[in-house]
């Protein structure tokens, strides 16, 4: 975030009315948060700051919102009546009224003396006491509500009301304790790990599409101009005007970069179980994007799965087929990298050439077996570029039986267990020269 963005945000604030919370928020967001990820962080920070700052101010000046009238009202009002009013406020989309009702609900609830002191629990208890349920989006007719049936609210509206409840409860707690709770670290701001591979599949696909573009355009400038080039007539004529219409300098059509050839080796052993689903989805996405690609899975032995990926389009079918047909485990079920390199070398040695790219997905844990880094060095030498994606955090590298250091000498290793890191890998790819 730069100075110019700050300036923008102030000029934007000059154009909106300050009393409208939403307008101020959106104006700040439009000028400060410049990606959807930023926007999520911004929302969190905005809520925290604009909740904590005024509370702090109120404490300092000993202002309390213990509005006698409201609280007295809370003591008398009965739940059914309250429910009706909440439904009405939601129907009308009245934010301020909802806030007041949240206070009322808390007051009414507090009278029954059931507060647990834990805000999250209290919110759910109040919701249950009011018999508010998230419905299918249809708000019931008022007469239904009057009959005392459970009130069904659209999910968003309910969430809104809960947020109000939470905020008011927090405010109460602050007023009681006369101090702010300690600020929690904003750990929600971290990017989430890919827990379920399926919902992340789209994200992986997106990153891999990027990867394809980077790989395809890379090395283009270094290749230079060689034979078999076409003259670009339009640009030549344009340039010729500098020399009075005589085409002195010829302009060439840019050469189309050749498609890269990719070899991917993917570890599917038990030590990387959690990561291998992620890896398989990477592999799957790669296959959607690259035509000339051969993929292998390995544990103790290596097995080519290119055909499976070409045959099956859905991710689920692919992972099932791999589990059924690959036959990569031999006896022990532990990864044997030395054997893998030897077998890989034997099967593709003649096909490897400086234009091909080898990507290894694995944790480099040899289970005490010979890593055979020398064979891996041969692979790396034959191929144009070699990358290693390790699903373990860098902290654990070379700890225990991990021998990534031995391989890292011959390739570039990246830690990669989130789509975010996959993106980093893609970025790093562009910075790498073709001969690197």
């Amino acid at each position: 975030m730069g100075t110019s963005e700050l300036l923008d945000s102030f000029s934007a604030l000059g154009e909106v009315s300050w009393s409208e919370r939403l307008e101020v928020k959106e104006a700040l967001a439009a000028t400060l948060a410049k990606s959807s990820e930023d926007r999520r962080v911004f929302d969190l920070v905005f809520e925290r700051f604009f909740f904590r700052a005024p509370e702090h101010e109120a404490l300092a000046r000993e202002i309390s919102e213990q509005d006698a009238e409201l609280d007295a009202g809370g003591a008398q009002i009965d739940l059914a009546q309250l429910r009706e009013r909440i439904a009405q406020a939601i129907r009308e989309g009245d934010d301020a009224a909802l806030r007041d009702l949240a206070r009322l609900a808390i007051a009414a609830f507090g009278r029954q003396g059931e507060g647990s002191g834990v805000i999250g629990v209290d919110v759910q208890r109040i919701r249950r006491a009011l018999e508010l349920r998230s419905g299918d989006g249809r708000t019931r007719e008022p007469q239904d509500v009057a009959r005392g049936e459970a009130l069904e609210l659209p999910r968003e509206a309910l969430r809104l009301f809960e947020a109000h409840l939470r905020r008011e409860l927090e405010r109460d707690a602050i007023e009681r304790a006369k101090r702010l709770p300690p600020s929690r670290p904003l750990n929600e701001l971290d990017r989430a790990l890919p827990s379920g591979p399926l919902q992340d599949l789209a994200a992986v696909h997106r990153v891999v599409a990027q990867l394809k573009r980077r790989l395809a355009t890379q090395g283009h400038s270094a290749r230079g101009r060689r034979r078999h080039q076409q003259v670009d007539v339009r640009r030549t004529m344009r340039a010729s005007l500098q020399t009075g219409g005589v085409p002195v300098v010829l302009k060439w059509r840019p050469r189309r970069p050749r498609r890269p050839e990719i070899y991917v080796l993917c570890d599917v052993s038990t030590s990387v179980t959690s990561a291998s689903v992620f890896f398989l989805s990477v592999l799957h996405a790669l296959h959607d994007n690259f035509r000339r690609m051969r993929s292998f899975v390995f544990i103790e032995r290596i097995s080519e799965v290119t055909e499976i990926f070409e045959r099956e389009r859905s991710f689920k079918a692919v992972s099932e087929a791999i589990g059924r047909d690959a036959g990569v485990a031999d006896v022990s079920g532990y990864t044997d990298y030395g054997r893998v390199w030897t077998e890989f070398m034997a099967s593709v040695e003649d096909d490897l050439h400086p234009r091909s790219t080898v990507i290894v997905l694995g944790d480099a844990r040899t289970n005490g077996r010979d890593p055979r880094a020398d064979v891996f060095a041969q692979v790396a030498e034959k191929a144009g570029r070699t990358f290693w994606l390790n699903p373990e955090p860098r902290l654990y590298w070379n700890y225990g039986d991990s021998v990534i250091a031995a391989y890292e000498r011959h390739c570039r290793a990246f830690e990669c267990w989130t789509t975010g890191q996959l993106e980093e890998f893609v970025k790093a790819l562009t910075r790498t020269g073709p001969g690197d």
Binding site: D8, S35, R206
Partner: protein, 301 residues
């Protein structure tokens, strides 16, 4: 006619008036864009009305829409300006006998021989326009860098001619499908608007706006289904445009309720991948009632 809005509410009402239902933030950012004269970067999934927003703005503000569709390999000769070399050649040939060299030289690099391309058109016109730079993420980073001068100062430098400054200030919208991270330099110069799929009520009113004849129950059910489909993990979730298309199809078929049969028959309007079709048929078809199992084989697609 040229409108000059004075408040967010005005922009919101204006956009409604031309058939575009903006969300709160959309209206606000559009308002800021006209007030501050800054370009707006609109990002979001495909089919949430990013391009439509630019069209609606141009209708509402009463300005012409100049559109530059970006694609890989787009260069300045197609986006900014180009010298009309045929004309220049003719000029040289007709004058080479009698005119002095320096005169011709001065002559052929003048306005007359310049072919304005969309970006140049946008800033050189007398009437202010709305400039839409569509799918900026499809171009390469070099092109982005070239845009920077235009976006921050509204001027274009032509080596042979000097700096051409904007006569009028256009409202600029850039759209991106988020297939690639845009450079920080570009983002810094823009206001940012993230458009997401609308909420149920919002989408319902959009659908109703476009197909007012459709009965309320069908429209609501349709939008609920679309939202349900979007929650599934699909390769390509249905866009707003597709739910409108679907609503139109319902209208043509004269449907008064969406049952499993009808859903399976018309599903291909909103779902466009074979694997997606399978997922949707499996998940949503079942929810529509016991009929789904019996009619699963009658599925199209």
């Amino acid at each position: 006619m040229s409108a000059q809005p004075d408040s967010v509410a005005e922009v919101s009402a204006g956009l409604r008036g031309v058939g575009y239902l903006p969300g709160q933030s959309t209206a606000l950012v559009a308002y800021l864009a006209t007030k501050l004269g800054k370009p707006v970067l609109v990002e979001g999934p495909a089919g949430v009305g990013k391009t439509e927003l630019a069209k609606a703005l141009s209708r509402y503000l009463g300005r012409r829409l100049v559109r530059l569709q970006c694609y890989e390999g787009l260069d300045e000769a197609k986006a900014l300006y180009e010298w009309n070399y045929r004309k220049q050649l003719l000029r040289i040939q007709t004058e080479s006998d009698d005119a002095g060299w320096s005169e011709v030289q001065d002559d052929i690099f003048s306005d007359d021989f310049l072919l304005p391309r969309p970006l140049m058109t946008a800033i050189a016109t007398e009437e202010p326009v709305v400039l839409l730079i569509d799918e900026i993420d499809k171009t390469d980073q070099e092109f982005e860098a070239m845009l920077l001068e235009l976006l921050s100062d509204f001027q274009i430098s032509i080596p042979e001619l000097g700096v051409i400054e904007a006569r009028t200030q256009p409202v600029v919208l850039l759209t991106s499908n988020n297939t690639r991270e845009l450079t920080e330099a570009l983002k810094r110069r823009c206001l940012y608007l993230w458009l997401d799929y609308p909420s149920l009520e919002h989408e319902l009113s959009i659908v109703k706006l476009h197909t007012p004849e459709l009965s309320d129950t069908v429209a609501r059910k349709l939008v609920e289904l679309v939202q349900m489909v979007r929650d599934l993990d699909l390769k390509k979730p249905p866009s707003i445009a597709e739910s409108i298309d679907w609503a139109r199809a319902m209208l043509l078929l004269g449907a008064d309720d969406i049952d499993a049969n009808l859903f399976n028959a018309t599903m291909s309007i909103i779902v466009k991948h074979r694997t997606d079709l399978d997922i949707v048929a499996e998940r949503v078809g079942v929810q529509l009632g016991g009929l789904a199992g019996a009619t699963g084989s009658a599925r199209t697609g």
